[in-house]
Amino acid sequence: MPDPSFEEYVRASGPRLKRLAYLLTGDLHDAEDLLQTAYAKAMPHWKKVSRYDSPDAYLRRTMVSIRTSWWRRHKGRDRLVADVPEQALSRSAPGGIDLDESIVDHQMLLQALRGLPERQRAAVVLRHWCDLSEAETADTMGCGVGAVKSATSRGLANLRAAMAVPATSSPRGDL
C-alpha cells in the first residue's frame, strides 16, 4: 500500500509537475509517461524523499534524468508528436520575433522547444520556467554550472532562430 502522504503529494504536485513534464517532452502522452515513471521511482524512497527540503527538486532531477536516458535510447529515431492541444492562436507568426518582448504563439513555441537538443531544452525550461538558479539547474541536470550556462545560452539562441523562421514540423525529430 502506498504511503498516504505519498498519495497526497502525488495529488498535490501532479498538475505542476505535469506541466514541467510537458515542457520537457513536448508531448502530452510522453509527459504523463515521464511523470508516472518519476513518481514510481520516488515511491519506494518516499520516507527519505519526503524529508527533503523540496521533494519537487528530487522529482525534477528524476524527470530530467529519465528524459535524458530515454532520449539516448531513442536517439536518431524519428517520433511522431501531437500538436499543441488547442487551436493555435490566430496571430500570425512574426518573422524575427523577440522572445524578450513578446508572448509568443503556443504552436510556434512548442515546435521551437521540440527542435531544441535535449539538454538545451531542459536548461531553458529549468532556468526560465522553473526559475531555478544556475547552480540549482546544474544540480538538477547533473552537470556543471558552465554547461548550464552554455546550454541555456545556446537554447535561447536556437529558440530565437526557430521562432524567426517558423517551422512546419519538428526540425530534428529527436523528441
Partner: protein, 413 residues
C-alpha cells in the same frame, strides 16, 4: 513556479505549460504503484535466482555480539578478527568474461544492504537487511583468484569503518553515504577458465562493525556475441578491406545498460583480434583516423550513456594486442593502457561533446569545461600517451552536445 516573474519567456512557457492541464489524470496512483511494482520485480528477478541458490548452500552462520541497550550502534570496538563472517561456496558457469559488480541496495525504509553480482549469470549474493541493520553497507571488496582485494565502493578496510552515528564513514540515520539507487561499480576479470572470487562486505551492522564473506567459483567460457556495428575499410592500405565489428552479447543490442562490448578486427583469414570495451553504453564506430601517424588507422568508438555521458574509445589495431583508451573527460594527457588493456581518465568537471576526425590524422574533440563555449582540441597518440595539441578555439561548436557529427565543417582546420 514563479508566476510573478517579469521574464517574457517565462510567461510564454507558462502559457504553453498550462496546456498540460487539458490532459488531467484524475487518479494516477494505480499506474504509479504498478510501475513501482514492476521495477521492484525486475530488480528481484535479476538476482533472485542466484540468491536462492547461494542461500541454499550457505555454510556457517552469522554470529552477532550483544546488542547495545539503546539499540543504537555502539562504538566500533570490534576488530575485523572478531567480527562475524560466513562463507559460501558456489559454482557457476558463465558464457563470456567474468564480470563482478558490487552495489548498495535500499532494502527497506532505512536499510541499505549490499549486493555482489556475477553479471550475466543471475548469480548474486545479498547481505540482507537483517545482517546490516539500519546502518548500511560501507565497503565491498573482491579478491579474484587469490589476488589483492579490490574495493568497489566505500572504504577498503574494515578498520577504517567507523560505525558511530554521525561519523563520516559510519552510521547516520539521515545519510548512508551510498545512494539508494547506486548502480554499483563493476570489475572485469580477463581470461576464461575457473575463477575463485572472495567477496568481503564491511558493514555497520546493528551491533557495530561486521565483515561478511562469501566465496564462489565461476567457470567462464566464450560467449555468443552479435554485431552491433561494423565497418569494412582498408585500414592498412594494402588494398584489401579489414573488418571491424563491435559486438555485444547476444540479446543485448541496443540495451544502454549492457555492461560490455567487444571490438573485433578481422584481417583476411587470420584469427580476429579483440579487445573488450568496458562500461555502459551502446557502442558505435565513430570514425577512423591515423591518430599517431604510424601509417595505420585507429578506430574511435563512441559509447552512448554511462555515468559520465558518452565516452570515446580509441582502438589501435596495429599493435600486437589492440589497445584501448577510454576518454570521458579532457584536460591532461591520457596514459595509454597497461597490460590490463584499459585506462580510464575521467574528469567530472568536463564533458566531451563532439568528435571529428581530421585530414591530418588527428582527432578533434570538443569538450565543455564550463563557460559559454566548448573547447575544441586536437589530440594525437604519441609514444604511449594520447596528448592534447594546442588549444584552438572553435570557429563553431556543436549545436547539440550529444551530437558527435555536429563538428563537421566546424572547428579548427
Amino acid at each position: 513556479m514563479n508566476t510573478d516573474s517579469p521574464d517574457p519567456l517565462f510567461r510564454s512557457l507558462d502559457r504553453l505549460a498550462q496546456q498540460a492541464d487539458t490532459d488531467a489524470v484524475p487518479d494516477r496512483m494505480a499506474d504509479i504503484s504498478r510501475r513501482a511494482r514492476q521495477t521492484r520485480q525486475r530488480k528481484l528477478a535479476a538476482g533472485g535466482a542466484g540468491i536462492a541458490v547461494l542461500a541454499a548452500i550457505a555454510a556457517g552462520a552469522l554470529i552477532v555480539p550483544d546488542r547495545g541497550t539503546d539499540g543504537t550502534a555502539p562504538d566500533p570496538a570490534g576488530s575485523p578478527s572478531q567480527t562475524p563472517s560466513k562463507a559460501v561456496r558456489e559454482d557457476a558457469d558463465l558464457s563470456g568474461p567474468l564480470r563482478l559488480r558490487a552495489s548498495a541496495v535500499q532494502s527497506g525504509e532505512q536499510a541499505i544492504s549490499v549486493r555482489a553480482e556475477v553479471l550475466g549469470t543471475g548469480h548474486s549474493w545479498s547481505s540482507g537487511t537483517e545482517e546490516i541493520g539500519e546502518f548500511g553497507a560501507r565497503a565491498v571488496t573482491f579478491a579474484v583468484d587469490g589476488g589483492t582485494p579490490e574495493a568497489l565502493f566505500g572504504g577498503s578496510e574494515l578498520g577504517a569503518v567507523d560505525c558511530r552515528r554521525g561519523s563520516s564513514t559510519g552510521a547516520s540515520q539521515e545519510s548512508y553515504g551510498t545512494p539508494s539507487d547506486n548502480a554499483g561499480q563493476s570489475l572485469q576479470v580477463s581470461g576464461y577458465g575457473e575463477h575463485t572470487v572472495k567477496v568481503v562486505a564491511s558493514v555497520c551492522g546493528p551491533d557495530g562493525p561486521a565483515e561478511l564473506t562469501e566465496t564462489l567459483t565461476v567457470k567462464t567460457s566464450r560467449v555468443d556475441y552479435e554485431t552491433a556495428d561494423e565497418l569494412n575499410e582498408d585500414l592498412d592500405g594494402d588494398g584489401e578491406p579489414e573488418s571491424i565489428a563491435i559486438d555485444v552479447p547476444a540479446g543485448s543490442a541496443g540495451d544502454p545498460d549492457a555492461a560490455i562490448a567487444v571490438a573485433r578486427l578481422s584481417v583476411g583469414d587470420a584469427a580476429p583480434q579483440a579487445v573488450f570495451l568496458p562500461g555502459l553504453g551502446e557502442p558505435v564506430i565513430e570514425g577512423v583516423a591515423d591518430l599517431n601517424g604510424d601509417g595505420s588507422d585507429e578506430v574511435v568508438v563512441r559509447k552512448l550513456g554511462g555515468a559520465n555521458g558518452d565516452t570515446f574509445s580509441v582502438l589501435n589495431l596495429r599493435a600486437e594486442i589492440p589497445y584501448l583508451v577510454t576518454v570521458t573527460g579532457m584536460g591532461e594527457a591520457l596514459i595509454l593502457p597497461n597490460s590490463t588493456g584499459v585506462q580510464d581518465a575521467g574528469s567530472a568537471d568536463s564533458q566531451v561533446t563532439g568528435l571529428r576526425t581530421r585530414e591530418d590524422g588527428s582527432v578533434a574533440l570538443s569538450t565543455w569545461f564550463g563557460g559559454d563555449r566548448p573547447t575544441v582540441q586536437d589530440w594525437r597518440i604519441s609514444d604511449d600517451q594520447m596528448k592534447p595539441g594546442q588549444n584552438k578555439p572553435a570557429a563553431c561548436y556543436p549545436e547539440d552536445p550529444n551530437d558527435s557529427t555536429s563538428l563537421d565543417g566546424c572547428g579548427p582546420r
